[in-house]
Symmetry: C2
Subunit: 329 residues, 2 copies
DNA sequence: TTGTATGCGTTATCAT
DNA sequence: ATGATAACGCATACAA
């Protein structure tokens, strides 16, 4: 690949001029900028980010660490973060922790030198470790609340409370919540919201857990749901909810006739059958905002401790109905 | 962050020794390796990948460019590629071209210096441009056939032919194929397979296109499908197929009673309702193999022109049945 | 087995 | 407005 030196010689200028033609064109005569760029294009030259990074200390990369790339919630978030980072001139280095806390730790350490800052989505890491990493590189959290650190929080709680209230209003007296592992901030928030709202409404609430939030686990949990007195079930996310619907169908339980189901995320909900009622959480915005926040911090244009809270909305589709005993009256 | 120089001084050795203690420990007295590493750990030193990259020309990163991160086919592929790269000591830099050829070009140029090689998944870029980029960095293609370049091809053709043969055997006489933009190699291959098999069976085959392969586009295409004489429809991927099923349902067309539907990828097919019949293509393997291939080429342990063909299988679930007129007899 | 010296491609600091 | 040159942190011939 051609270097700055070759371009300089071909253009009959110094290396500094070539450097400025790309980095600080305003310091140069417009004509020479044009000239240098033309030569550069002919040679196929592009500034070497690695050398630039070594010289400036700024790598032009941000690190993005997620628990599971293949989860549509995260892949959508990644897409948005990557797109925003790109427009700001940053590339995105991706890490998948596979839901393993120790892997987050390793990834953070390995990527740190080549990255200006991190976005940590739904980290399972301990607060101590997160703080340790944050002391070396700016770090923005998504769906994790650590005091004094910048973060983007998806407030699904209000949506879940709204959902439980609605269920109560149409006659449900007992609900189940199917959650993910307790280490997840998002899960705790959602579970508490369901419990709070149910308590407020004087409803019975049962909490169930799946080992990993996916379709298969949801499907397997259908039997447990049926073992409770619940006539409606709220799931930690749409994948699990969709799995529950499938598991219910296998057992000839009709949704929503016999059991109402509500998911969370609204990332696949519109494409399921029947279309899933869900809490829409705007994960696109979460990725976008996190990238924006991190880049602002890197620019120094924003204090390194911002808190963004993204609202959620209950979206009613076709998996919610009054409970069977209520209809029979 | 501490540098190699500080470690060298603290350990009372030269910078070269510190460098070797991390890079080539076998060249050193085990005792000094131990000593240097201890000091380094105390200081919190880690080799700076950026400086190392500039010196060696090897960045420890691979670039992965996909048309759409949020498409489950690609997110699954990304996950597998990233996991394999990680085990080989490489980090993954991700680019999303948003299905725009020019964006692939830009990404390839921008990422090139900080990456040792690329995996280009389903590129829409012209052959000339691909070759131009390949002349600078090793480049492995997924689902694109350019002569002389290493590639991983998913042979969905055999699966599609198998599917058409099956449809013929249960009485279908007319099929439709709903494809993606023509620039896609995968789409051409699948379309040709359907056309070939249909011709061989003496069936009528109609080709339809959607602007972008997703659920919404599939749903919108349902009307066009119904305007043909087809009693069975094959889609370029599961997203589109699932959309077609939804669009059909909206028009009170029952699947598979009135119309059979077959997708491709098997990435969401098992979770749809009804479970979608599909061509399973093992996109996990595609990502894994592509990373493996690229890293082998970087190591020089494999010739830079390998061709891997991944087989596909027809997976019958619940969206295929004999055509209505056939049942009526 | 270890140290010395040089270069990797760029930006920044002084000059001019 | 442009040029000369010294870092940036590391790896590696070459020496010892």
């Amino acid at each position: 690949m051609p270097t700055i030196k070759e371009v300089a010689e071909a253009a009959g200028v110094s290396r500094a001029t070539v450097s400025r033609a790309f980095g600080k064109p305003t310091l140069l005569n417009p004509a020479t900028v044009e000239h240098v760029r033309t030569i550069a294009r002919q040679l196929g030259y592009a500034p070497n980010q690695v050398a630039r990074a070594l010289s400036t200390g700024r790598a032009g990369n941000i690190g993005l660490i997620v628990p599971d790339i293949a989860n549509p919630f995260f892949s959508t978030l990644i897409r948005a973060a990557q797109a925003h980072a790109y427009t700001a001139g940053y590339s995105t280095i991706l890490g998948d922790s596979d839901e393993v806390p120790a892997m987050e730790d390793v990834l953070l350490g390995k990527l740190a030198p080549q990255v200006e800052g991190f976005i940590l989505a739904s980290p399972r890491l301990s607060m101590q470790r997160i703080k340790a990493h944050a002391s070396r590189r700016p770090l923005v959290l998504i769906n994790r609340d650590v005091a004094g650190m910048p973060k983007v929080l998806i407030d699904a709680a209000s949506g879940f409370e709204e959902a439980v209230d609605l269920l109560a209003s149409i006659g449900h007296r007992s609900v189940a919540y199917v959650g993910a592992p307790k280490a997840s901030w998002a899960n705790r928030q959602r579970q508490n919201a369901v419990l709070n709202a149910a308590g407020r409404q004087g409803m019975t609430a049962t909490v169930l857990h799946v080992p990993r939030p996916d379709h298969e686990a949801g499907r397997a949990s259908a039997a447990e749901v049926l073992a409770t007195s619940a006539t409606a079930v709220l799931a930690v996310d749409d994948l699990v909810a969709q799995g529950i619907v499938a598991g219910l169908n296998e057992r000839k339980i009709s949704v929503p006739g016999d059991m109402s189901v509500i998911g969370c995320d609204d990332i696949i909900a519109a494409t399921t059958h029947p279309p899933l009622s869900t809490i829409a959480v705007h994960c696109r915005d979460a990725g976008w905002r996190a990238a924006e926040l991190l880049i602002s911090i890197l620019n120094g244009s924003l204090p390194p401790a911002m808190k963004l809270i993204l609202k959620s909305d209950l979206v009613l589709r076709q998996t919610v109905a009054p409970p069977p005993h209520f209809q029979k009256r």
